[in-house]
């Protein structure tokens, strides 16, 4: 079975928020419910300054702290390795939000449950459905999605070529890799 992952190249990210809004459209989210969070890093001093925008979202960790702390099993890792939320079981205790090192889980005030990136773009990958997922919406192609275990896949080759790394190293065996 494929082990899905994503690569985000921040050298290509222009901080335009298209992925956030596209994701909200694709996944029917509230206007203030965001699965993608951005950190802007400004380095250097005037005028020698550089700017990096780092989009963060659920890293679909193989060693997922959210699943470990969830008292009801609502946060769990599916058979395909995608970290999921069983909304029926979620009691809104927010343990997972506290445990997530990337702070990318969001609380839906309306349903009282926690949600986060669903790797929805899998269905574009597997069925070819046209979507407005973050990967397809990205203007600069900063995002790649695919099977990390398939050495022929674009993502595996790009990770190898760029030495892309998870944002926090080996911390949680995250499946989103960053070129920075």
């Amino acid at each position: 079975m494929a082990r899905y992952g994503m690569l985000i190249n921040t050298k290509k990210c222009i901080g335009c928020y298209a992925c956030r809004v596209a994701c909200q459209r694709q996944n029917d989210l509230l206007p203030n419910e965001d699965f993608i969070r951005y950190e802007e890093k400004e380095t250097g001093t005037y005028p020698a300054v550089r700017v990096e925008t780092v989009p963060l979202q659920c890293m679909h960790c193989e060693d997922a702290p959210c699943a470990a702390v969830c008292p009801t099993g609502a946060a769990y890792i599916g058979t395909d390795g995608i970290v999921q939320v069983d909304h029926g079981r979620c009691i809104g205790c927010k343990y997972c939000m506290a445990a997530c090192p990337y702070q990318v889980r969001v609380f839906n005030e309306e349903t009282g449950t926690v949600d986060k990136c669903r790797f929805c773009t899998v269905s574009a990958e597997t069925s070819g459905t046209q979507m407005c997922s973050c990967v397809e919406a990205c203007l600069t192609g900063a995002r790649l999605f695919g099977d990390l275990d398939d050495p022929e896949s674009d993502i595996a080759q790009e990770i190898a070529a760029t030495n892309a790394q998870p944002i926090a190293g080996d911390l949680t065996k995250a499946k989103i890799f960053y070129v920075r």
Partner: protein, 734 residues
């Protein structure tokens, strides 16, 4: 009639007031209905339509998926020349405008108490027509004017309507956008615009333009290709904008001094003989005069004005020469010199002359004149030509360099004060908030006998109007074909994606056709937009149905651009004009030399206000869109930017609330303290400070740049001088 007859009348069941057993059996509770839909068993017709986005002026093509009448998905069209398959955040977000609670739903008239009341279209038309006729009979048709932000149908119908009434006064938003730039270009090269071949360039310089903040997807893609090809990309901007990710160098120029930089770089090329002498000799006129005039515009001189080290200016100029002809200064849009300063038109002129020194016109990687196609002559009986009005557009005497196709809209404020203009129409234009000082404009417009605004929501301009007419949103209407210039020119179509949401709204073509009828000039409007669209398309070998079937975009490969073509300069002299007689007549220097901006911050706690787009908004137009405004709120994008050293001197910390004030206005907002901005500049994002309470989401967030800008018009060119504003900033409460 029994008394029951009246209490048993029904909107649904007519005078019977009841339905039979079979009908009541059709009753279904809401829960059951929801479940039936969720299960997918309900009738669900999925249709798709190709159309054009309206969240900015690029008008990207997209496919709208409509299920059971509702827009469910938007996918950018790969074939559309500006979209190339990706939409921006605004494109996804703006679509909700169709269903917005803030939509105008009925024609409105302001009553004696200053409140708006819904009226019928018939009443609106007849009252407006009566006033139009009264103005024409007392002051002539030249006392009527129109301001519109061009859209495919809007441009055609607004102009036709005014011309039918006999007025030449049709203005675009240009004076507050790109009027100075296009007019300055025209003086130098006889064309209002050109395109930089960014993707194939070895070096491109952007002045005040940010592809990553004012997004046209194809431009972003081009810039990426340029990077992949190893181009050297330079951003000249007081603010280190988001394009920096795709650029090599940020040149943090003092705002309002771009002209000095361009002149000094020209000086370097000329002094060192690094320019394309053959090209200049063959194509130019007045070169020697200009060379002499800018002999003292050295990098050292410019350093004192621009704040850019002379060595940097010299280095950039030399690098340009090395990369020429695959190099150019990009034409920009509004950016730094579209309408911002007293020297914007001259900056534009100088940029064209600099590009001429590079010999880059129509060269691969240089500055190109790309082909476009336009509709030919249509059947004169069905679509009769309107006689050209006798008068000239108001403002052309005072601002002779301004392109008459755009006009100096801001002069209408003074014309209204003088009483020269009595009736003013606005279509898709929020002039009162975005073009010049809002208080000055409001006061000016209060002198009008008639003010009519047509929009989808209650803009600040609508608030001032006597009549407000409700437009359909862009998702609900067909418009005339939109021709797009490019390497392979194209034609595109804004089409109906969803049915009209509010039955009492009307598209622009209907409004002006019906208004024309009421005003007695209906003979020029005896056709539908469908008929005219089809007729226009047939002049280029297509048809309305054909273009729809083709996915909304068709190309004209036979018109494909090829590099190297000699340019036929459409200037009065047929040459690139280093010297311009028209500029001299307008009281400017015949050759572009340094011109000071009107204003300059004195240091200390004084700053120059600069504007600029953020990627999620277009001017003030998208601020009321909730998914977009939520981004503003989460990331505090309404904050003004201040240089970190300056902030430290003033005792201001990141996130502090500051008071920004000048003679025009005082307002409070939080501040972003950053290394990314020139110490002279205070960046005020251009999207905020909405004062229309009917825009529930936008209202009262952040500051409005234009509140701080004194009313002023650029000599000669007519730009609105939108960055000629100095403010003082202090920590709030300090």
């Amino acid at each position: 009639m029994s008394e029951h007859a009246i209490t048993r009348r029904s909107f649904l069941a007519g005078s019977a007031g009841a339905v039979g057993l079979a009908a009541t059996a059709g009753y279904m509770g809401f829960g059951a209905w929801e479940q039936a839909h969720a299960a997918g068993g309900w009738r669900r017709e999925v249709t798709t339509a190709h159309s054009l986005c309206n969240s900015c002026s690029s008008k990207c093509g997209f496919t709208g998926y409509v299920e059971d009448g509702r827009l469910t998905k938007m996918i950018g069209d790969v074939d559309h020349p500006y979209c190339e398959g990706t939409l921006c955040a605004r494109g996804y977000g703006y679509a909700s405008i169709a269903y917005s609670e803030d939509r105008l739903t009925d024609p409105l008239k302001k009553n004696d108490k200053g409140e708006f009341e819904a009226i019928s279209w018939e009443q609106a038309y007849s009252e407006i027509a009566e006033k139009v006729k009264a103005i024409i009979s007392s002051n002539g048709p030249e006392a009527l004017a129109m301001v519109q932000d061009p859209r495919p149908s809007g441009s055609y119908y607004t102009k036709r309507f005014m011309q039918a009434l006999g007025s030449a006064n049709v203005y675009t938003h240009g004076a507050a956008c790109n009027l100075s730039k296009n007019s300055g270009f025209t003086q130098a090269i006889g064309a209002g615009d050109y395109a930089s071949d960014v993707a194939n360039s070895k070096m491109t310089m952007f002045i005040g333009r940010s592809y990553a903040d004012a997004i046209r997807p194809s431009s972003v893609h081009d810039l990426q290709r340029a990077r992949e090809n190893g181009a050297y990309i330079v951003l000249v901007d007081p603010r280190c904008n988001n394009t920096i990710t795709l650029a090599d160098e940020w040149v943090p120029i003092n705002p309002g001094t771009d002209l000095a930089l361009v002149l000094a770089m020209s000086n370097v090329l000329i002094k060192n003989g690094l320019y394309d002498k053959d090209f200049v000799a063959e194509n130019g006129i007045g070169f020697d005069e200009w060379a002499a005039a800018i002999a003292d515009h050295t990098p050292q001189w410019a350093e004192g004005i621009t704040g850019i080290p002379a060595s940097t200016i010299e280095r950039l100029a030399v690098r340009f020469a090395e990369c020429a002809p695959a190099a150019s200064i990009e034409p920009s849009w509004r950016g730094a010199f579209g309408c911002s300063y007293a020297n914007s038109g001259e900056t534009a002129r100088a940029i064209c002359l600099f590009n001429t020194l590079l010999g880059c016109w129509n060269q691969k990687g240089g500055a190109l004149f790309l082909p476009s196609v336009s509709a030919g002559e249509v059947d004169a009986e069905k679509f009769p030509a309107v006689p050209k009005p006798e008068g000239k557009i108001l403002g052309s005497e005072e601002y002779p360099l301004a392109l008459s196709s755009m006009g100096v809209n801001v002069i209408l404020a003074d014309k209204a004060r003088e009483g020269a203009v009595k009736g003013l129409f606005f279509y898709n234009s929020n002039m009162a908030a975005g073009y010049a000082n809002p208080d000055y404009l409001a006061e000016s417009f209060s002198n009008l006998d008639l003010m009519v605004a047509i929009d989808v929501q209650m803009s600040e301009t609508c608030m001032l109007a006597d009549y407000v007419l409700p437009d359909t949103s862009y998702l609900e209407r067909l418009e005339l074909p939109e021709f797009v210039g490019g390497k392979v020119p194209a034609v595109t179509l804004r089409d109906r994606v969803i049915e009209k949401v509010h039955p009492n709204t009307k598209p622009v073509d209907e409004i002006f056709s019906e208004l024309a009828e009421a005003c007695g000039v209906g003979e020029y409007f005896q056709f539908t937009v469908d008929e005219l669209a089809d007729a226009q398309l047939r002049t280029v070998g297509l048809s309305l149905e054909g273009l729809r079937q083709a996915g909304g975009t068709a190309r004209f490969p036979e018109k494909e651009y090829s590099y190297g073509a000699a340019v036929k300069w459409k200037t009065p002299t047929g040459k690139v004009q280093f010297t311009s007689e028209a500029c001299e007549k307008a009281g400017l220097s015949p050759v572009p030399v340094w011109v000071d901006p009107q204003t300059k911050p004195a240091g200390g706690n004084q700053f120059r206000v600069i504007g600029g787009k953020q990627a999620i908004h277009t001017h003030t137009q998208t601020a009321n869109i909730e998914p977009l405004m939520e981004i503003t709120k989460k990331y505090n994008l309404e904050r003004v930017w201040m240089n970190a050293d300056k902030a430290a001197q003033l005792g201001i910390a990141d996130g502090d609330e500051v008071e920004v004030s000048n003679e025009e206005h005082t307002g409070r907002v939080r501040v972003k303290v950053t290394q990314r901005i020139n110490p002279e500049a205070l960046y005020v994002p251009s999207h905020y400070g909405c004062t229309s309470p009917d825009q529930h989401t936008a209202y009262n967030v952040g500051l409005r740049q234009m509140d701080f800008v004194p009313f002023s018009i650029e000599p000669g060119y007519g730009g609105a001088c939108t960055q000629e504003a100095i403010v003082t900033v202090k920590k709030a409460g300090a």
